[in-house]
Symmetry: C2
Subunit: 348 residues, 2 copies
């Protein structure tokens, strides 16, 4: 849980800004033909020929989005990339480049930033992304990461939130709620550690849900799979804030309603057992937990047979006319309106 | 100098994240054909046909890059955009889109963010830019702005830092050192105000240098001018860290040396008089002050007649062979090696 405090410490001021950027990015290789000029000038230069490009950006702040007492810096670097790639995949696009800006206080030695960038580099390698630029500055307090991701998509292949039609099927990849329950376990262990720093937590029963929190993946594979299956979703969004919030986005922007079936929501056994242990309703966790980075999309019923057999995809509902509203059909067959949780950060 | 503390205060938590983004960006109009889809989906979608695109990003942090005790939020929003556009122009490109991410603590009411976005909108209007996305989150402390700017450039028109050749002329737009001296005046008035809050500062003799600090402009006009004059610079960079640092970037990346003539460095009379008042050497200020956002570029001597008569452009030196080094030729005709100041932020 805890960083090794005796590690080597090189002061950031020993390098200067340009030395720091050079040092941290020296291993980054350019992989894409579309990256004409990467780090090292006033701006990167890209060339996508006739393809459309997609651009998305996210901020991650220490104390708001992550807690370094249980988030290793390497994982944090990895996750900061994933969170942004997930938005690119949600456009049915191929992620190609990112910029990474960081602000750090002097409490971080160079070795900490090397860990952070090792995570960024690992994600860039696994997801085949060029790191093309960024900014590095000091902060008065804490660590902040701002990533902008760029992707390419053949014209007419991009998928918006706004294309869902009545009678379409609502489909989700993977399973939901695990990242949130992983966070609950980590928060609990942090409290235990505060009381007794010698306690050794047994995290074995929670490996999957903790990994989902600390090292999530983005569903590049699903975009590829849908393309191979010949399925173009009518709408798509990634699940960062929780299933409820994302369904509402699709329904509002597509001007449709939706019936979501509680019994169809995919849950990992560790989510179910941990929810029981914490005495939390697993459906509530799936609806509002967030940080799953799965893809939620709608397809025409004509495409059902193409996706039916795939274990990574679950049909969880039907798109309805707008006037019918957005409802959860519970296991007890009652209809409950689906509500968004709003913005938790500002209510803390 | 001081904010009106009796202004209307709407708590950010009253709106929630999506309400806040909608509210702040509702006036933003799409101006470019290349902006296919702006704010409102997982990512923006852009289409540049056969043009190359340039991408650059910068972070601005309260307490590091700006001080809200003398920086009005509207100016800050404006400046955050300008700083990024300047990098796009330094590639000889046309700036077309930006994303804007902000992190704010609860001490800021909605009205403060409206001021910030009013400045962003003003810059976007004046510089003809689409605001296509961003992220809005809470911070534990202070205000942070992360902007990514995107521009387009016809293939083969982009200008890198690396193209300067021996015998090229070194040219700078506008004048240098004003933003730094404006900051010195503002810092002094802040100290005076702390001692005597009833003192009324007379800032009349400093209007130009204060405006250069609080509301800088990016040299879109110079890129247009060079195009009209039929001059393609062999290398270009914007002056954000000071003339010394930028000359060294061009020389290192172009593998050349340079003679810079002290007497040719363009200084505004207010910079000269304020330097005398503060007993600071004006050449030192121009070399190391930073935040001028002028363009520094090199051109072939064949192009000299095309730019000669232009009052916005000053020839300040000659590119030499790499082995001859980078020197300042002083008014007393002595040769001094040009050195970079390094990264001030981490040395505070």
């Amino acid at each position: 849980m805890i960083e090794d405090k005796n590690q080597q410490r090189t002061q950031l001021s020993d390098l200067g800004e340009f030395g720091l950027i050079d040092h941290l990015t020296k291993n980054f290789k350019v992989k894409h033909k579309s990256t004409i000029k990467s780090i090292g000038d006033d701006a990167a230069v890209l060339n996508f020929d006739n393809k459309k490009i997609v651009v998305t950006t996210d901020l991650l702040l220490e104390g708001v989005h992550f807690d370094l007492s249980y988030m290793p810096l390497k994982h944090l670097g990895y996750k900061a990339v994933i969170v942004n790639l997930s938005d690119v995949y949600a456009m049915n696009a191929k992620a190609t480049q990112i910029t990474v800006s960081i602000a750090v206080s002097n409490r971080f030695p160079l070795e900490a930033l090397e860990d952070l960038y090792a995570g960024i580099e690992t994600a860039a390698d696994i997801y085949d992304i060029d790191v093309i630029g960024g900014d590095t500055t000091s902060s008065n307090k804490g660590l902040l990461i701002s990533v902008t991701a760029i992707g390419e998509v053949e014209s007419e292949n991009e998928v918006y939130r706004s294309g869902a039609k009545p009678n379409d099927l609502l489909v989700v990849s993977g399973d939901l709620g695990a990242a949130y329950m992983g966070l609950q376990v980590l928060e609990r262990e942090k409290e235990v550690y505060k009381v007794n720093p010698n306690s050794q937590p047994d995290l074995e029963p929670y490996t999957y849900i903790i990994e989902r929190q600390l090292k999530p993946e983005a569903r590049k594979d699903i975009v590829k799979l849908l393309s191979e299956l010949g399925v173009k979703p009518s709408s798509m969004i990634d699940i960062s804030d929780g299933l409820s919030s994302e369904i509402i986005h699709i329904c509002k922007q597509s001007k449709v309603g939706c019936d979501l079936y509680e019994e169809k929501i995919p849950l990992d056994p560790q989510v179910i057992s941990t929810c029981e242990e914490f005495n939390i309703d697993s459906t509530t966790v799936a609806l509002n937990g967030g940080e799953d980075y799965e893809l939620l999309f709608t397809i025409s019923q004509d495409d059902f047979l193409k996706i039916k057999a795939n274990p990574s995809l679950s049909v969880i509902g039907y798109i309805k006319e707008e006037k019918e509203g957005i409802h959860l059909i519970t296991r007890a067959d009652t209809k409950i309106p689906v509500k968004a949780q709003g913005w938790k950060n500002f209510n803390d």
